[in-house]
Subunit: 457 residues, 2 copies
Amino acid sequence: LADPLIDHAEGQLFLNEAFKIIVEEVLRKGTDAEEKVCEWREPESLALLLDLQLRDTGESQDRLLQRVRDVAKYSIKTSHPHFFNQQFGGVDYHSLAGRFLTEALNTNLFTYEVAPVFVLMETEVLKALRQLVGWTDGDGIFCPGGSTSNMYAMNLARYKLFPEVKTKGLWALPRLAIFSSPGSHYSVQKGASYLGFGTDSVILVKVDDGGRMIPEDLDAKIELAKSQGFVPLLVSCTSGTTVLGSFDPLDCIADVCDKHQLWMHVDAAWGGSVLFSKQHRHLMKGVERAKSVSWNPHKMLLAGLQCSAFLLQDTTNLLKRCNCANASYLFQQDKFYDVNLDIGDKSVQCSRKVDCLKLWLMWKAVGSTGLEHRVDKAFLHVRYLLEQMKKRDGFQLVSTVAPVIKERMMKEGTMMVGYQPLGDLGNFFRVTVFSPHICHKDMDFFLDEIERLGKCL
Amino acid sequence: LADPLIDHAEGQLFLNEAFKIIVEEVLRKGTDAEEKVCEWREPESLALLLDLQLRDTGESQDRLLQRVRDVAKYSIKTSHPHFFNQQFGGVDYHSLAGRFLTEALNTNLFTYEVAPVFVLMETEVLKALRQLVGWTDGDGIFCPGGSTSNMYAMNLARYKLFPEVKTKGLWALPRLAIFSSPGSHYSVQKGASYLGFGTDSVILVKVDDGGRMIPEDLDAKIELAKSQGFVPLLVSCTSGTTVLGSFDPLDCIADVCDKHQLWMHVDAAWGGSVLFSKQHRHLMKGVERAKSVSWNPHKMLLAGLQCSAFLLQDTTNLLKRCNCANASYLFQQDKFYDVNLDIGDKSVQCSRKVDCLKLWLMWKAVGSTGLEHRVDKAFLHVRYLLEQMKKRDGFQLVSTVAPVIKERMMKEGTMMVGYQPLGDLGNFFRVTVFSPHICHKDMDFFLDEIERLGKCL
Ligand SMILES: Cc1ncc(COP(=O)(O)O)c(C=O)c1O
Ligand SMILES: Cc1ncc(COP(=O)(O)O)c(C=O)c1O
C-alpha cells in the first residue's frame, strides 16, 4: 500500500497500441472513400456485440484493445468524405494533435496558476476572433457549445439592464421579451426556458423568402410587445441558420436595436466563419454593432467538438460581474500574480475544459489565409452541387421518400446525409459540403447515390 | 479546386510526431517525481516565449511540433505525483486512450444515427452508476461539469412542481427557495442566478463541527421560509464538500424532505466515488432516497475532464419533457429506428461531447473492484498524511504564511498544493491525495517540502 497503484510504463504501452488502432481504423480507413461511412447494426445486436456491461473484475490489455477496435468499427466515420450529415464533418490533424495534447495535460481553465499557457492562449484566440468581428477590445469565453453561448447572451443582457436579477431573481423584474426568427436555432427556446424566462418570452419575427429576419417586422413586434407590457430585452439574430443557412440583415437589425435600446446578439455558431473570407464576410455586415456573438469553430472550421466562442463587445467586466461567485478556495485575492488572470469566475461553470488549444494550433498551422481558403472553397462546393443538381431530373421528387432513402443508405453504409421537413414542402435532404476533404468526385457520388437509392421508389 | 484541401497522409504523419512528444513530455517526464510540476514564468514572459499571436500565414510542421513541445513544457503537470493542488490530479491510461478515441471519432451525442455506440454506452454507464446509488431504474445524462449537473437538478425540480415554468417563466410561479449548506459548492449560487431564481433564493442551513448540514436546522429554515411566503423547492445536499470533504447526513435530510415534499438533490460531484467502496459507502447512506445525484468521475476516479453524470430516479421521462424542443432537423419522428434512442433532446445543449467512453473503458479495464481499491487507497492516504503531520511540529503555523510558501513552491516548481482561508482560522493548505499514483514517499515529500519552504518565514 506504500506504492502507487498505477504503472506508468504499462499504461503508456497500452496507449501506444491504442493510438495505432485509432490512426488505422478511424483516421486512415475512416477517411477512405472506398470504405463505409457507417457499419449499421440494430440497437439490440450492437449492444450484444459491444458487450457494454460493466463488471466487478477488469479485463486483459488485449481484450481492451479489441474494444477500442470495436468502438471504432461501429462508430460513424464523421471524417469520411461521404459524411454530409451534420455541421461537423471532417478532420483537421493539427486540431486533433491539439486535442490529444489537451487531453494528456488534463487541466482546467480556472486560474493562471493551474493553466498558465491556456489562460493566455484563450485570451489571444478570443482577441483574434473579436478582431474578425471588428472589435479592437472586448471580452469573451469559450463555452461547451453554441447553445450555452447563446444562453450567456440572454443572461448578460438581463443582468446589464437589471443587475438585481443576480440576487433577487426574475420575480423582481418586469416581464422580458426576446426576439428571434422562426429559423433561429432551438437553443433560443431552450435557453428561454432554462434561464427562467419561459418560451412565451420568445417572440418570433417574420422572415423573407430567403429565411432572413425582416427588420420592419422586428420593429413592429417590439412595439407590440411593449404595448402588451413586456420589456424588450434582446434580439437574437442568426448568421447562418441551421437549416437554410440564411444570414439575417445585421445592419438593419442594429438600427432597430439602437432605436429601442435592445441588446443585439448574433448567433453565428454556424456562419461565423465567413468572417475569415474577404469574399463572403459581407454576409455579416453590421456584426460589429452587436453586443455579443456566438461562434462555433467546431462546425465549419473543423476544430473538433467542443469549441464555441462567446464574444463580447463589453469592456466593463460585465461577464465576470454577472457570473462571479468569488469562491475563496479558487480565487484567493492574496496571490503572488495578477488575479485578473484567474478567468474562471467569468464562467457559470466551475471546471471548464480547455477548448482553445486545438483552434490555436490549427490556426497557427494554416494561418488566417488558410482558413479563408477553406471557407471560400465551401461556398464553391455549394455552387457546384447546385449546378450539378439542376442538370439532373427528379431531385424534387425525393422529398416524399427521404426517410426510405435514408434507411437504405445507412444500412448499406455508403453515405450519410440528413433530411428534414420544410413547411408544406415535405422532407428534403440537408447536405453539408463545407469540409475541405470533399471534392467534386464526392459531390457527384452524393448525387448518384441519391438517384440509385431512390430507384424503384 | 476539384481536389480536397487536406492531405490525410501528411496530417497523420504530423499526428504521429505530436503523439511521441506528448508521451515523452507530458506522460513520461510529466509523471516523473524527479521532474518539475511546473515551469513557472511570469505572464508577460510566458506570452513572449509562446508567441501566441495568430497571423495570416501558416507555419512549418517543425515549427508546429516545437509549439506542441512548448505548450507541454510550460503547462502544469497535473499527473505529477507532487500535484496536490486540485481534485483532478493523476492520469489513467485507459481513460486517456478512450479520450483520444473520442477525439478522433469526433461525434455528437444527439441521435442513435450519428452516435450508435455512444448512445448505448452512455445509457449503460448511467445505469451502472445508478445501481451504485441504489436505483434499479431511472434516467440521467452526462453534463459538461458538476456545476451544470447541479443546475439540471434545480431546473427539473421547478419544472416537476410547476410545469408551466417552461412556457411562462418564473413570473408565473410563487417565489421559490433552495436550501443548502455554507460548505456547498458555489455552483448552487451560480445556478440560482443563472436559472433566474436569484441568489437570495438560496437559504443556507447551519452545519455541525464537521461541516455537515444539521437536519433540524433545515426543518426550521423550511418552516421559516414558508412563513415568509416562499415555496420551498429543493435541498441540495453535499456528499464530499469542496473544501472540507464533509458528507451531509442524507438519511435524516431525506426525512425532512419527505415531510415537506421537497426535491432532494445530492451533489456528490466530489464524494460520489465512495459508492464503489464497501468500506466507505456508508458516508452516503440514504442517497437512494434522493431524486437526483451529481457525480463527477473526472475528479476522484481520474476519468479526465470533462466527465460529470447527472443521475435521476425519475422514470416518467421528466428530463426530456422538461428540456425538449423537438427540433425537426434532428429529431424527426419518421425514422426507421426507435426514436427513443435519440437522447439529445434531454439536454439543454445541442452539440454534446461524448464523455462516457473514457469512463467506460477505464471501468472495463480495472472493474468495479479496481475502482473500489482506488477509493479505499485514497482514504488510507488521508490517514497516513494525518498521522505523519501529527508527528511534526509547526504545521498549524503555516496558515499565515501560506501565500508566500505557495509562491516559493510554484517558482521552484517542486510541487503544487492549494491554500484557502477557513473562517477566522486564516489560510490553510487543502491537499488532495486521492490519486492512485501517490505513495507514502510523495506524502512525505509534501510534508518535508512545506517545512523547507516555510523555513525562515
Ligand atoms: C445557428 C446555430 N446556433 C446554435 C447552434 C448550437 O450550437 P451547439 O450545437 O454547439 O450547441 C447551432 C447548431 O446546430 C446552430 O446551427
Ligand atoms: C462538491 C462539488 N460540487 C460541484 C463541483 C463542480 O463540479 P465542476 O467543476 O465539474 O463544475 C465541485 C467542484 O469542485 C465540487 O467540489
